[in-house]
C-alpha cells in the first residue's frame, strides 16, 4: 500500500479548494508582487551603478590623487609631482620601457539642453590611457590622435546626449570633432568623452592634472607603492586601488537608492504581512470543516499547520515571480543617468532569487499565526461549524 505523506495530503486538499478562494488568494499574490516588484525595481538602480563602476575596476591598477582633494579630479597634481609619481616602485613598464601610467584630467563640459551642469565630462588621458581601460574598443570611427583637437565618445554618452561620430563639441579654443565612439566593458568611462590630456589641459587653460592611473606589476605591490608615495616629503598625494576607488564611488552614488529601496520594501512588506495574516485567518475559517475532517481521519496538527504555511508560501512565490518578471520586463537594461554616471538598470537572476527568498520569508511571517490557529482548532466543535 502506498503511504502518503500527511502534510502533502493536507496541502493537496488545501490547493484543491484554492479555486473557491480565488479573490483572497489573488490579494496575497498581488500584494507580494507589488512588494517584490517595487523593491527589485529600486534595487536595479544600485545594481546597475555597481555593475558600471566595477566594470572599470582592476585591483592591479592604482589611482593616485591629491591628498587634499580625496578624489580623482579634485585638487590638482602639478607636473613635477606627476614626474615623481611615475618613478614610484611597483609600476609596470611597457615594451618601450616607459611606465604604464596615464596622467589624466577631468573637465566638465556644457551639457546638452535639459541636462544639468556637470552631467557631461571630458577625460583627458595620456598615451597609455586607453590601454589601462579594461575592454577598451573603438566601435565606430577611429581613435583620437595625440596632440590633435579631437575627441572620442563613450557609447553611453553617445546615446544619452546624442553626441554622434562626426558631430563636434565646442571647446574654449574652437570646435573639436568627435572622430570615434568606444566601449569599455560598460564602465563609467563610457559616460564620458575622451581626448588627449595635454591638448585638453591646454584648451582648458589648466596647469595641473586631476590624477594618475598606473598599472602595477601585480596587485600585491600596492601597499609598497602607496607607502612610497605617502611617505615621500615631496608629495602630498594618496593612492587607492582602482577597484576600491570605484567601489567607494559607486557607494557614493548608490547609497541613497539602496537605503530608499529597503525602506520602501520594508514598509510595503509590513502591509503585505498584515494583509496575508488577515486573509489566511479568513481561509482558516472558511476551511474549518475541512480541517476538522482531516483531523478526524487521523492527520496531525503539524500536517494541518504545514499545509497552511505551504499555501501562503506558494501564493507568495507566485506573487514574487510575477513581480520579478514585471520589474525585469519594465526596467532591466534601461539606460538611466545619475549625476555624470550613465548606466543601465539591472535586475539579475541573483536579485530575482533574492526576491523569491524574501517572498518566502514574508509568507512564513504572514502564514505562521493562521497556521498555528488552524492546527489548534478543536476538532469536535470545528466539525459542526457551518
Amino acid at each position: 500500500m502506498k503511504v502518503l505523506n500527511p502534510p502533502l495530503v493536507a496541502c493537496r486538499v488545501g490547493f484543491m479548494s484554492l479555486g473557491q478562494r480565488l479573490g483572497s488568494s489573488l490579494v496575497i499574490v498581488v500584494g507580494i508582487a507589488c512588494v517584490i516588484g517595487v523593491s527589485l525595481s529600486m534595487l536595479s538602480i544600485t545594481e546597475g551603478l555597481v555593475r558600471m563602476f566595477s566594470a572599470g575596476g582592476d585591483s592591479s591598477h592604482a589611482i593616485v590623487y591629491s591628498a587634499v582633494g580625496q578624489r580623482e579630479g579634485g585638487a590638482g597634481l602639478d607636473r613635477s609631482s606627476v614626474g615623481i609619481i611615475l618613478n614610484a616602485p611597483g609600476i609596470a613598464v611597457g615594451p618601450d620601457g616607459k611606465p604604464l601610467a596615464s596622467a589624466e584630467i577631468i573637465e566638465s563640459l556644457p551639457p546638452a539642453a535639459g541636462f544639468s551642469e556637470g552631467s557631461l565630462n571630458l577625460r583627458g588621458i595620456g598615451p597609455e590611457g586607453s590601454a589601462l581601460m579594461p575592454g577598451f574598443k573603438i566601435v565606430s570611427g577611429r581613435m583620437f590622435r595625440s596632440g590633435a583637437r579631437e575627441l572620442i565618445v563613450g557609447q553611453s554618452a553617445e546615446s544619452e546626449f546624442g553626441l554622434k561620430v562626426g558631430a563636434s563639441v565646442i571647446m574654449p579654443n574652437g570646435e573639436w570633432p568627435i572622430v570615434g565612439a568606444f566601449t569599455a566593458n560598460g564602465s563609467y568611462a563610457e559616460s564620458q568623452l575622451l581626448g588627449d590630456a595635454e591638448t585638453v589641459m591646454s584648451a582648458a587653460r589648466v596647469a595641473d592634472y586631476g590624477g594618475v592611473l598606473v598599472q602595477l606589476r601585480s596587485a600585491a605591490v600596492f601597499d609598497e607603492f602607496k607607502r612610497w608615495l605617502t611617505t615621500n616629503p615631496a608629495l602630498s598625494v594618496t593612492a587607492e586601488r582602482q577597484s576600491d576607488y570605484l567601489e567607494r564611488t559607486a557607494n557614493r552614488y548608490s547609497s541613497f537608492f539602496t537605503t530608499f529601496a529597503y525602506f520602501i520594501g520594508c514598509l510595503m512588506a509590513m502591509g503585505a504581512i498584515f494583509g496575508s495574516i488577515q486573509i489566511m485567518f479568513s481561509t482558516v475559517e472558511a476551511r474549518t470543516r475541512e480541517i476538522a475532517t482531516l483531523r478526524a481521519i487521523g492527520y496531525g496538527p503539524l500536517a494541518i499547520a504545514a499545509s497552511f504555511l505551504f499555501e501562503t508560501i506558494f501564493l507568495s512565490l507566485i506573487g514574487a515571480v510575477l513581480g520579478s518578471i514585471a520589474a525585469r520586463l519594465l526596467f532591466n537594461e534601461r539606460q538611466a543617468i545619475s549625476g555624470d554616471a550613465i548606466f543601465r538598470l539591472r535586475i539579475s537572476g541573483q536579485m530575482m532569487v533574492f526576491g523569491l527568498v524574501a517572498a518566502a520569508c514574508l509568507a512564513i511571517l504572514g502564514g505562521l499565526m493562521p497556521a498555528i490557529r488552524a492546527a489548534r482548532l478543536p476538532v469536535a466543535r470545528a466539525i459542526r461549524a457551518e
Binding site: 479573490g23 483572497s24 489573488l26 490579494v27 498581488v30 500584494g31 507589488c34 512588494v35 516588484g37 517595487v38 525595481s41 529600486m42 538602480i45 591628498a67 587634499v68 582633494g69 580625496q70 590638482g76 573637465e107 566638465s108 563640459l109 556644457p110 551639457p111 535639459g114 541636462f115 544639468s116 551642469e117 552631467s119 571647446m171 574654449p172 584648451a203 582648458a204 587653460r205 589648466v206 602630498s236 548608490s254 547609497s255 541613497f256 537608492f257 539602496t258 537605503t259 530608499f260 525602506f263 520602501i264 514598509l267 510595503m268 509590513m270 502591509g271 503585505a272 498584515f274 494583509g275 495574516i277 488577515q278 486573509i279 485567518f281 479568513s282 538611466a336 543617468i337 545619475s338 549625476g339
Partner: protein
Amino acid sequence: MRCYTQAVGPLFRLGSRSGDVRMKYWPLVQSALLRRPAEASLTLLAVTCGFALFGFMIALNAAYWRVIDSARVDRIYVNSRFDDPNGLPIALEKKIEAIDGVTRAGAFRWVSGYHQDPRHFASVYTVDGGMRFGWSEFPLTASQWDELFASGTGIFATKKAAERWGLHRGDTFEISTKPQVREDRASGWTFHVLGIVPDDPEWDEGVLVGSYRYAENARSAATRGRVLGFRVAVRDPARAAAIARQIDQTFANSDTPTKSVTSRDNAEAQARSGIAIASLTWGVGIAGLFMIVFLTGNSIAQSVRRRIPEFATLKAIGFTDVRVMKLVLMEAAIPCCLGAAVGTGLAAAFVAVPRRYIPRGLLNVPHPAVSVATLEWALGSALLIAIAGAVLPIVRLRHLNVSVALGGRAP
C-alpha cells in the same frame, strides 16, 4: 442574528423621518466593523502601512517640486562656460550690471582647503555686496550683511554647517590651504563665526558664508581679481531667459565665455538629470495603493458574503438599494480613511526623524514635509479605494434574491 438585532435596535430607537440619516446608519456600520476586531485591526494595519508609504512618497515628491518652485524666477546664474578653474574676471560684474534689465550682480569665490585633517574638506563661500540682491533669499538681515562685509574675517554659518563643524557664535574656524594661495604665504585662514543662521534649501549640507573682499585681499596677487561666478538679479522675471542669452552673447567671443541659466531652469535641469525621483515616487506610491485596493476589496467582499442574510433582512424590511450601498460604502470608507489618517501621521513621524538618525544615503534628497495637502491626497485616495473596493459587493447586493437569501440558501 444576534449582531443584526443589536445593530438594528438603535436604528429604530434613534431614527425618525426627519432624523439624521448618518446617525441611523452608524450602529449598523459600527457593529459590522467591530464584529471581528482582529480582522478589522489587521486590515487597518495593512492599510495604514500602505498609506504611510503613500504619504511619504507624496511628501517626497512635493519636496522635489518645492525645490523647483522655490527657485527664483528673477535670478540668473552666470558661470564660466568651460568650467575654467580660474573662473571669470570680477570686471564682468559691472558689464553684466550694465545690461538692460539687470538689477544687480553678486560675485562669489570659494576659499577651499581642509579643516584640521586633510580628509576633512572645508570651504567658505565668499561673496560681495551684490549678493544682497543676487542672493536675497539667504536669511541674513541688512545689519548682518553689513556686519559680514565690515568684519573681514567674519563668517555666518547655516545651522547644518554649524552642526557639522560644531560651531557657535564667537568661535574661530581654521581652513588650511597651500601656502601659495595667500600673499603672505601662510597656510591657514582663520575665520570668526559671527552667527548661526537658518538653513537655505539650496545647500543640502549647509554653507559657511564669508566676505569676498577680505579673502581677495589675502590671496596671492597673481590670483586676485577672479570669481567663480555671479548671481544676477533681474527686474522682470519674464525676461530672465532672454537676459541670460544676452549675457552669454556679450561674452561669447571674449577670453572668458559664460554659461548663464535662470535659477528655475537650473533647478528643473537638475531634477531631470538625476534618476527621476519624482516619477519614482509616484510609481511606488501607486504600487502601494494598488495593494490596498485589492486588500480592501477582498475584506469588504468577505464581510458582505458572510452577512448576506442580514442584508436580505434589511432589504426585506424596506432598505432600498441606495441605503444598502451607503452602508457598504461606509464600511469600506471608514478603515480606509482611518488608515489614511494614521498612515499619513506615521509618514509625518518618519520625516520628523532628526537628521542624525537618518541613514547617510538619504541625506542628499530634499527634506520631505508632510502637509495638509498630503493628508488631503491620502484621504481622497482612501475614498476612491473604498469606492473601488465596494463596487463588486454592492453589485452583488443589488442582485440579491431576498427570498433565497432569507431561506438560508446561497443566493
